[in-house]
């Protein structure tokens, strides 16, 4: 398998009125297509910033970032927008659905920025809604849904562009444990059954162990990069530890 993501000596710092705040320090790692990777760390460790850089929402300060062998660090803003449109899908802790808007319209949103026919948009959005098991809710408004359902809609929205990688930023953070478990199972199935690459950002070890591999960050440094033992992973998926 080829490397989907290749990071070499990535640094990120924020500069504000001559005060330099280092966030990420000399990170290097690769992620292959079809992997399920968790990025874990306490708050302030830089994990969200790393996800934003990997997801083309933010830029690195120095180092190299190759996505599908292309040097992303030299991309213009419009090229980055195009990468977000075609290559990645996001799932956020806050769901971020458009209020008073139907499930179908919410899922269709990323397709508005792709040059295809309205009929094609409709077809793809319905498929995505079906793949998260919400076809009976397709015409509901986003505020008529439960938290778990909202996050499923968000996952459908992330899938609708058929992206190379799905980023999930604390996807269970706003959910009760049962709904959270279902969302993690859905992400697990998308990886194992559909072959989607999933990158999960979380501060919970238990949630992180749904992945095959865990990158641990502390104070902006990569402190470990380990595979999850298969028995622990199965425990997490079956929900036995909870």
């Amino acid at each position: 398998m080829t490397d989907l993501i290749k990071i070499v000596k990535l640094n990120k710092q924020y500069e504000n009125e001559d005060v330099v705040t280092p966030v990420l320090h000399e990170l290097s790692f690769n992620i292959k297509s079809g992997e399920f990777v968790s990025i874990i760390g306490p708050s302030g460790s830089g994990k969200s910033t790393l996800m934003h850089i990997l997801g083309f929402l933010d830029r690195l300060s120095s180092g190299e970032y190759f996505f599908e062998d292309k040097d992303v660090s030299k991309f213009t803003e419009d090229e980055l927008a195009q990468m977000r449109s075609q290559k990645v899908g996001f799932v956020f802790q806050q769901f971020n659905l458009l209020p008073k808007t139907s499930v179908l319209e919410n899922v269709k949103l990323p397709l508005l920025y792709v040059d295809i026919t309205e009929g094609e948009r409709d077809k793809r959005a319905r498929e995505a809604v079906k793949s998260v098991g919400l076809e009976h809710r397709v015409n509901y408004l986003s505020n008529q849904l439960s938290g778990g359902e909202k996050q499923r809609v968000a996952i459908a929205r992330a899938l609708v562009n058929n992206p190379a990688v799905i980023f999930a930023d604390e996807p269970t953070g706003n959910l009760d444990s049962k709904s959270g478990q279902q969302i993690m199972k859905l992400l697990y199935d998308l990886n194992t059954k559909e072959g989607h690459t999933v990158i999960l950002v979380t501060h919970e070890t238990y949630t992180a162990e749904h992945a095959k591999r865990i990158l641990k960050l502390k104070d902006g440094n990569l402190v470990s990069d380990e595979l999850v033992p298969e028995d622990r992973r199965q425990n997490a998926i079956s929900g036995e530890l909870k």
């Binding site: 195009q82 977000r84 449109s85 806050q94 990323p110 920025y113 792709v114 040059d115 309205e118 929205r157």
Partner: protein
């Protein structure tokens, strides 16, 4: 990016807050409405003035008692009694060789009083004492019957010729000829009926009752003076010359010498047009000022609300960027939203302005004026162009703010 889906999203946002959307548009609606109203009422007023003046004829001059300056009408117009015009003036004008272009001269003495026929009455009817050549001067024909003769006039005959509306009101379908009516308790025999003329020079003579001038002065009013003299001139080209001659004759007749001010005023249709034009121009200027201020305030109002909308929708903007929207996509969306507001506002303004102009036209027609309801294509195009420009100008800044937002910070915005 698909235009239709963006348009749909824009209208979704407007429909989510209908009251706010309407209030946002209000300034623009008033502004655009005023523009339409100005142009439409201006055209209507112009058509009215032209038709009124055409009816009275450009070869007619009027002599009113009392002085007037170039700007304002004489006091007699406002119902103030001025006694400087008398019957001798009529003779002087018609017999003087200096005013040889004059074809006919008629004197007028106007009064008010109750008019009764059997059990029907007109509470404050207007009776007009006129010279026997009145039909020739005003170029008016009889519907039926006859006008009074010179003998009847000098003999103070109590005969009356009715305007068409007065006939309708008093006789309601009955034949008025030969009937006896009472004007202020004096009996008159109806000998004729004028054809309908509508409003002429802003007075509706169809409502009047015409009696011999001498009868009006001596029996009804107890006057020696006149309310008005009208003279018909052979050709409109000789009007200015004749006005000068008439002034000379009357100054001589009234023994006004040197710097003494005229105690009469001579006018014709052209001057009436000028006066009316100055009134409609003031009206237009007033509306144009309202329109300009409303358009500016309306534009600022739209910008203000769009800036609020951008702040309210930080998360939506962040999300759109996260799923692939470029700066230009966001810019277009917000400009389009402002344009939709501006377009709907302009459309409502056009309908509102046209509706008010239509009401004015209906009221004017009901009052007997020949008012045309005109909404020109040019004014609509102007309104649409101005509305669109306002949308673009005042929509650009909020849209640029939205487009420049950082997706990460806006996604986290609570």
């Amino acid at each position: 990016m698909n235009f239709r889906s963006v348009l749909k999203l824009s209208t979704n946002n407007l429909r989510a807050n209908p009251l706010r959307s309407f209030l946002t548009m209000l300034g623009l609606i008033i502004g655009i409405g005023s523009v339409i109203l100005i142009v439409s009422v201006g055209a209507g007023a112009q058509s009215l003035i032209l038709s009124q003046v055409n009816k009275i004829g450009s070869n007619l001059i009027g002599i009113l008692p009392g002085a007037s300056d170039a700007k304002g009408p004489p006091a007699s117009v406002f119902g103030i009694q001025v006694k400087t015009l008398i019957n001798d003036d009529i003779k002087a004008i018609s017999n003087d060789g200096r005013a040889h272009h004059i074809v006919a001269v008629a004197g007028y003495a106007q009064g008010q009083g109750e008019v009764i026929y059997e059990n029907r009455s007109i509470k404050s009817g207007t009776f007009m004492g006129v010279s026997d050549n009145y039909p020739e001067v005003e170029n008016v024909a009889l519907q039926s019957g006859r006008f009074f003769t010179a003998e009847e006039e000098s003999g103070l005959a109590r005969v009356a010729i009715l305007g068409s509306e007065a006939v309708n009101e008093l006789f309601q379908g009955e034949n008025p000829l030969g009937k006896t009516i009472k004007i202020k308790h004096t009996s008159y025999k109806v000998i004729g009926e004028f054809e309908s003329r509508g409003s002429v020079a802003f007075t509706n003579q169809d409502k009047y009752i015409f009696i011999p001038l001498g009868t009006a002065q001596k029996i009804m009013l107890g006057w020696r003076h006149l309310s008005l003299i009208r003279a018909k001139i052979d050709d409109a080209a000789n009007v200015d010359e004749t006005i000068d001659s008439v002034k000379q004759i009357l100054r001589q007749q009234h023994k006004l010498e040197g710097d003494a001010e005229d105690d009469f005023s001579v006018r014709n249709a052209a001057q009436a047009i000028d006066m009316l034009k100055s009134i409609t121009d003031a009206f237009r200027f007033f509306l144009a000022a309202i329109a300009a201020i409303s358009l500016l305030v309306g534009g600022i109002g739209i910008m203000n609300i769009m800036l609020v909308a951008v702040t309210e929708r930080y998360r939506e903007i962040g999300l759109r960027k996260a799923v692939g929207a470029t700066k230009r996509n966001i810019l277009n969306q917000f400009i389009l939203e402002t344009l939709v507001i501006a377009t709907i506002g302009s459309a409502l303004g056009i309908f509102g302005g046209a509706a008010i102009s239509g009401i004015i036209a209906i009221v004017a027609k009901a009052l007997g004026y020949d008012w045309s309801f005109i909404v020109s294509v040019t004014s609509i195009l102007l309104a649409v162009v101005v509305g669109t420009l306002i949308g673009l100008v005042f929509g650009y800044y909020p849209a640029r703010r939205a487009a420049g937002l950082d997706p990460i910070t806006s996604l986290r915005y609570e």
